[in-house]
Each structure stands twice: as C-alpha cells, then as structure tokens.
Symmetry: C2
Amino acid sequence: MKRITGGVTAAKGFQAAGVEASIKYQNRKDMAMIYSQSPCVLAGTFTSNVVKAAPVLWDKKVVEESPFGQAVIVNAGIANACTGKEGFAYCSRTAQKAAGVLGIPAEAVLVASTGVIGMQLPIERIEAGIEKLAGARADTEEAGTKAAEAIMTTDTRSKQAAAEIEIGGVKVRIGGMCKGSGMIHPNMCTMLAFVTTDAVISKELLTKAVKADVIDTYNMISVDGDTSTNDTLLVLANGMAGNPEIQEDTPEFEAFCEALHDVNESLAKMMAGDGEGATALFETKVVGAATKEDARILSKSVICSSLTKAAIYGHDANWGRILCALGYSGVNFDPEKIELFFEGKENRIQIYKDGKAAPYSEEEATKILSEPEVRVLVDMKMGSETATAWGCDLTYDYVKINADYRS
Amino acid sequence: MKRITGGVTAAKGFQAAGVEASIKYQNRKDMAMIYSQSPCVLAGTFTSNVVKAAPVLWDKKVVEESPFGQAVIVNAGIANACTGKEGFAYCSRTAQKAAGVLGIPAEAVLVASTGVIGMQLPIERIEAGIEKLAGARADTEEAGTKAAEAIMTTDTRSKQAAAEIEIGGVKVRIGGMCKGSGMIHPNMCTMLAFVTTDAVISKELLTKAVKADVIDTYNMISVDGDTSTNDTLLVLANGMAGNPEIQEDTPEFEAFCEALHDVNESLAKMMAGDGEGATALFETKVVGAATKEDARILSKSVICSSLTKAAIYGHDANWGRILCALGYSGVNFDPEKIELFFEGKENRIQIYKDGKAAPYSEEEATKILSEPEVRVLVDMKMGSETATAWGCDLTYDYVKINADYRS
C-alpha cells in the first residue's frame, strides 16, 4: 500500500466540484458534488442517533434499495435535521434536480447536509448550486480539494486522504474527504465522510469491509461526546480500475482493507485533531487489555474526559484525571497493576506504576504535552488486546465557537 | 416538612469546625470536622469508579463493619487518590489521631479528601489540623458554615441545607453540607456530601432511605461527565432527637424520607449550579416517558451535552442540540411526537412540535436562557414517568480552571 496525494478524485472516473451557493454562509464555498462517470456499488453507515436528519433517511434508502449510486450532493451551513416532512421532501427535490442535470436516476443521487439543526434548506439556492456544481465538476486533484473545502463548517482546514494498491497487476485507488469539527462522537460512522474507489468489488464485500473498519476508525474519535443527527459515511466503488474482482478471504481483499483502513484512519485522525477549538491531537493507546472491546472502551473514555482534555490544553501532566477516566469507563481492572506513559515525538516517559506516581520529570512531561500530537499509552497488564482512540484538547475556543454558533 | 437554616450542626448533638491547616492551599480554611456527642448509625454511598481514593476504601470499611461512627475528618487540596499503600496508611493515621484527640475509637472516624490526584498528604499538617479542629468545634450554625467553607476546592460558595420534621411530637432535624465543583458526574453519590440527623432510626432503615434517594438526587447531576475517584456521601444519625424509632412503611418514615430528599436535592442542585465556571443552573425535566429509567437517561443526556451547555452559556436557543442529545441517549422514541419547552421564572414557551420548530419568539427564548436557572421541559408522549437532572453551562472559566488546576 502506498499513500498518495488527493481525495475523492484520486480514483479513476470520479469528478468533484465545490462552489459558492449562499446556503447560509456568504462568500465561501458551501456546496460540493461527487460524480462518477459510471455507476457505483454503494456502502454506507449512518448515525445511531434516534433523531436522524432527513439526508440520513434518504441515503439509507438509496444505499439499501438502489441498484447503484452515481452522485453525492452536499451542503454546509444547514443540517436539514429536525425539519419534518418538508425537510425530507427537500432531499427528494435535491436528488431530482441533480438527476435531471446529470442525466442519471434520482435514486442514484445521495445527499448530505451539515450545519445548524432545525432550519429548512433554501431549496431554490440548492437547485441553483447543483447547476453550478455540474458545470464546474472535474476529475482533477484541485476539484477534489474544492469539494473538501466546500463541506467545512467550523473546520479550520480541509481533510483528504488517498492510497493506492495493486490488485492483479492493476493499480487500484481509494480516496476520501471528510469534515468535522463539532458534534463529533460518531457512533457507526463520522459526521460526513465520503470515500471513492475505482476497485471492482461487490456491494456485499464492500459493505463488509466498511462496516468492519468504522469500528476502529471513525467510531474511535470524539471531539465533544455529542453524536450528531447527521453522521454519514458513504463509500462509492465504480470499478473503473478494471482489476479482477476482489474476492473474500484473499490477499487482494486484505490489501484493499488495509488501504481503506489507512484512508479512514487518516480522515478520522484529521477530524479529531481539528476538533472545534483544538490546539492538539490527543491520542490514547491501550495495550494489554483482556478483550478488544475493553481496549476500545478504555481508550475512548480517556479521550472523552473533559478534565483530561482541559489538562492537555494547559500542558499539565495531571495524570490522575487519566486514571480517573479509565476507572469510570465501566471496565474492571486493578489500579495497582496498570502502567501509564506519555509519548512524545522523540521519547516516552513512565508516569504511573504500582498504584502511584512514577519518578518522572515534570519538565519532560510538560514538554511532551506541548507537542501538537499528544500520546498517552496505557498498559492494562491483563492480556494482549489493543485499541487506539483520538480526540483533542478542550479550549476556550471550543466554548466560544459553540456559545455563538447560530449567530 | 419545614426547611430551616444551617447545615451539619442543625441536628441536635452535632458539632463542626473548619480551620486553616495549609494542606495545599495557603491562607484559607482547608480542614473540617464533624463530631457527634453520641455514637451514630452510619449510611454511605461511594464512587463506582474502579480507581477508588484511599479515604473511600477506609470509609466503606467503617460504614460496613464498625458498630457506629462519631466523627468525620475532611481535607481539601489533595484527594489522596492514586497514592498506593502509603495513602491508605495516612487514612489510618488520620483516624487514629482524631480518635486520640476526641476520645473515641479509630473505627468510629470517617475521613474524606478532595483535590488533586496523585499527591501524598502532608500527614504532620493533617495531624496538627485535627488538634485545631478539636479545639474549635462547636454546635453553632457558624461552626457548620466554617466546616462547609473548609471543604471547598473550586467551589465559589459553600453549600448547606437543612430541614425539620416532627415524629411522635418530637422535632427531628436533618442537615448537610457538600462541595463540588469539578469532576462531578456522581455514580452512586456525589463528590463529597455529609448529612447529619438526630433522628432515632436503625442503620438498616437509614441505609435503605439513603440508597433509594441518591438515585434521584446526587446521581442526577453532572458538571463535566467525569466520575470522581472520591465520590462520598456519608449520613450520620445520632438519635439525640429522642423520637420514637422510625419504622419502615409508616407515615413517619415517609416524612423522614421526604426531608432527607429535600436536603439531598438542595445540596445536589447547589453543586450543579456552582459547577466549575458555571453561570447558570441548567435543569432538564422529562415527563411522559415510558419508564422511570428512560426518563432519567434522557434528562441526564441533555444536561451532559457539551454543545447544549455551551449554547446555554451563549443564551442561544439552539434547541437542535437538545433534540440531538435526547436522540443519542440510548432511549428509543419518535422524534415526530415529542414536544420541547423552555421554562423561565415567569413563563413557558413551546419550542418544538410535530418534528419541527414551533413558532416561538427568539427574543422570548433568549430571555429565558439568560436567567440564572434555565429549565428545559421535554414531553416524550410515551407514558407517565418523570425525572429531573441538573447541570450547568460550559464556559471559558471551566476550561481556564481545569487547564491550570494543579499550578
């Protein structure tokens, strides 16, 4: 597997665009399109929130019932959540407009929205945006970047990742884009992430690969513990690489899964590191856990702890808060046996052992906690299972952003 | 039941004191004592965190095994958590010192600590503090207030509540004090709360009353979602009111439980309203739930939502975040059927109905959200069960306090 530049246009046959449509923001790109020159096999995972935004309901139906998908229309600014029947009708109108402009069936159009909850979409501006998007779409890396920029809300940077593998002597690519950066505590998948691939793969096998991978990627990040109403991951495979079809339980499937995982993990980490107001990515790796699920629960409990996140912001080695977060996670363990380390780019220091502080240097600890990527390593000493979770620090800016988000 | 002034010295035979002992803070009271002139029946609930502070382990043993209790020694500044065997030995030394000074058995002394995790207690200063406390103790309201002040950490005000009932023609009193204000997301009980009563009641019945009441009081508050390693609620009943012993399933027991609930709820609400950095108490009442447990989960999910809490701080009627928090709580419901209201001191306005925004006035909503106590009412339309949870807003000051807490 090789990492490559680019995002949703990295794979063959995919076009993208990002344009200004004045949905809610002014003077910035706020609508994006992904279009495949040929029909795609679809896989998707969606929010577990009982309150599901209209686009989630629309996309679930398309992924489950349509024979194929060929375009995705995304807007930023308004989430089209808690908008009743009217909101769902707007999804349908969006799909119909795109279908007409692109010459594909409306059931092949996926839609996604992000932004404030409770407002209705300005459907005429959405429709005008679709015409602009159709005219602007291209298969260049630049077009992919414009799309990634157009789906941002409080994100400070656009987020793309891509990888390349070889299957049967043929180059196969996977690329994706996503956006955070608040209301991020995905359960089944992240807020909005779109992954495209030119691999030849069945819907069944693609779905299997995607569902298995979200558990250790998007589901292991959190910015604020709030699971959004709009969480959506869509994966489109158009088969244009022309590789021999990927079969289950083969080295080729393994290679595909590895590349998919790399793209998903990269996107997930970008979202965590660019969480609202964040100044650092905060990673917690748990090793030596009795079960994989224990490792996941423990690592996620630490990166979700408000007190720990505030301490990271203050570059304060207040490790008691990490112990505390492990302790209330719901997983049982012996506090006298576990060990705790801080990992910097260049060194690792032991913080806790035998039920109490290890003799570490506060200065060294503060130095590690001042890096842009802060890593905590916890050894549970109970088994051999491992998991990693990603979050960010809790800052003044998180509060600022969310105290006036609507205004 | 009648509310009265005072705290832990409101009930007959209880003395208290608060003194400066320089445990970690300088120039402020940081040690407190509660002492009963006669032996007390004990009840207690403690943190569910796997990582339990040494005083929690000590008190659990005293509550479960000692025939009676007679004193509580509390220090602020250092939590005596994650301190290994040495930390536990300090609990024992604290109890022995108090026992010697007060002339009671060491097994009748309860201890509690709050503050930073991982540091050892300066035991000589603790012992010196105990001598000062013993000399200063008194049964006055003023002495109770000094004790309540001495246990504060980041609290901005001391917290006391008391109530009086009549049993068999005899006045019975219950009084308490507690402290917050960070790492508050009690599970089994709150961080530190102490309740005294002069009622004649068996240990068994007292325990029953306490365990039943924490579920709807301390366990329904949250400041930051972090369940402390030190959560402790201790209830001491010395029987000095001389009432005919309270029996189960009688109007007298009901009256006692009602007064106990009033004291506990008052203390719990004070902790929530004085959460670190808070500018408002944030209450969410869920009515019409299918089960009591559903009502509790739903109301707590809303008051724990970082995004909702930040919106309250911004006086922003961003009700979508409330819907979102209900939706990810784990309880199933139909978003098209539920109704949402904001309740101010003087009026109630409907915000959400039929799956979308109700036609409310933003100005009126902002006005309600600017009050010092913000109330959200949710009608699930699924049954008749009700629960109320209390939290606070999320502010710059929460981040500030917790980014430099140790320094």
